[in-house]
Amino acid sequence: MIEQILNSLSQFLPEVTLVAAFCLTLLISLILSSKGRNRGRVAVPSAALLGVAVSLFFVLDQAGTSQSIFSGMVVVDPFSVFFKTVIAGSSILIIFFSLFSSEVQNAERYRGEYFSLLLALTLGMYLMSASANLLMMILALELTSLTSYVLAGYTKDAGDSSEASLKYIIYGALSSGLMLYGVSLLYGLTGATDIYGVNKALSGGEVDEVALLIASILMIAGFGYKISAVPFHFWTPDVYEGAPVTITAFLSVASKAAGFAMLIRFFKVSFIDSSVIGLPEGMWASLQGFEWNKLLAILSVLTMTLGNLVAIWQNNLKRLLAYSSIAHAGYMLMGVVVLSDKGLAAVLIYFVVYLFMNLGAFLVVMMVANKTGSEDIDSYKGLGYRSPLVGVAMVIFFISLTGLPPTAGFIGKLYLFVALLDAQWVWLAVVGALNSVVSLYYYVRVLRNMFLRDPEKDAGPLAFSMPQVVLLLVLLLPTVILGLYFAPLVDWANASVLMFGVR
């Protein structure tokens, strides 16, 4: 037993690093804060940054391993390594964002809490992408949720930030309650909490199909809340609008990635029928008598349609991006519906692309809000002339979010649609394409304000500091380059669809 735990620990180094960094960051901030408020401006973020960087190093060190640790609670496999890399990458970028965010810097009293909770949030997401046991999934989900509730209300003097936090807690509590109920039903049906045991029991047949349907719908409530899929999306616009931009950006990318990782692992491991013979290479079969992928297809159509249609009416750019992120969750769900490794690889590709373009869009929102103090689309009038670099960057990010060539967003969508057509899901592909057309309208509406409208009279050119411009370029260049040269990304994604214990 002890040998097993010790062996597991050596495969658990990324998470251990994060825990250590969490304690260290908190202690550093405490030591510095007791002797005056203003210290720790450098030390605290550096400690957090170092922690995530070291844990990313350990994650990359795990590439290629595939094993289950801590008595099957957590697995280390290429799939989890991929998602952990995406999460750690966005975490590092968000720490840099925070250094430039006036919202975060103004609340310097709570700097230690902010950065240490970012680390805890990253830890929760790591565990979400790696857990192979229903109880571990719930725990990881709760760790992620609780820390993000606090972070969403970080600027607690602002009313809408507290509102965001409260709404997030209420929806989150309900969703995780529903999911917990689903887990208990699933345990009652199968007598197993680890997802491999669940699969074994379900493949054996003799499970009440109605109860299974109810259990999986309840499970989807938990996953859907994390990825903000449609019937469970209500918190998204309010939280994205009220939370500090840095946290909004983090939630929109990393939290969604972790939710998708958990959803995909749960469905692909426990709800497929591995006894079906004669399937084409790289395809899976859903359980007999329960085609859960059709359920997800409905969810996907609802999610992207509602996200895109409501985004048209938004005047606050953070809210617009919130609805756009709902729509993107819908696109990515299409890749899960097709039940093929190709679709899964497309989702992974999309996440890397989405990381750059969505964080980029949020960075522009933050930089402009720092200067103008407003996130309204009207305040973007003439921005393209006030700051050409930021204007052009926003054009590229938005074109990429729409999915037009020659940007990375096009590659992401291309692989998704190819996977759909390969699996004969033509109608879903058509719905997805139509939705992309709708999304073009509201993205271009912002761009029109930026380039075709005159700025307000007293608005001079906006100047941004060098580090901010460098950070913008760090996000901008991959968005362009991945649209032109994407072979390494595709290879990496194809290699990362392998999960532990699945053939």
Binding site: L6, G188, G191
Partner: protein, 162 residues
Amino acid sequence: MVISAQWSVALFTTIIPLLMLTEFGKILIFFILGGVFVAGGLIASWLLRPHRPYPGKLSTYECGEEPIGTAWVRFNVRFYVIALVFLIFDVEIVFLFPWALVYRELGLFAFIEMAVFLLILWVGYAYVWVKGDLNWDKPAPQVPTLNFVAAKPPARPEPVEA
């Protein structure tokens, strides 16, 4: 007692399997039995006890003091922080007891394991301490003085015109 033990054995070995209950069914039986147990106790004592109330007996028990005002008062929010901190250390003790029992067998590993656990807890303790959540700010007592200014008599309500 013997009879009841026999009965409960019979209940769990023969009768329930006869009913072909699922795992959830057993939980249902558990709930029902729990309700019956509580209700049975209350009803039995209500039937058996003498019933002679008087005002002193019916009042709220406050350690012999006369209760003043209602029980629904606002508590100082600090109590909740203290309760949370207490809870953490309570759980720590719950974890320490079994650890102490198997410490001899597990040796160094157990020591390091518990040291890590306590270290993380102490970080939390240090946090609460530094942030001043353990300080109990007493409001300065307001000593009544003799040279008080007589309060103004309440203003007379304006006569309402008919």
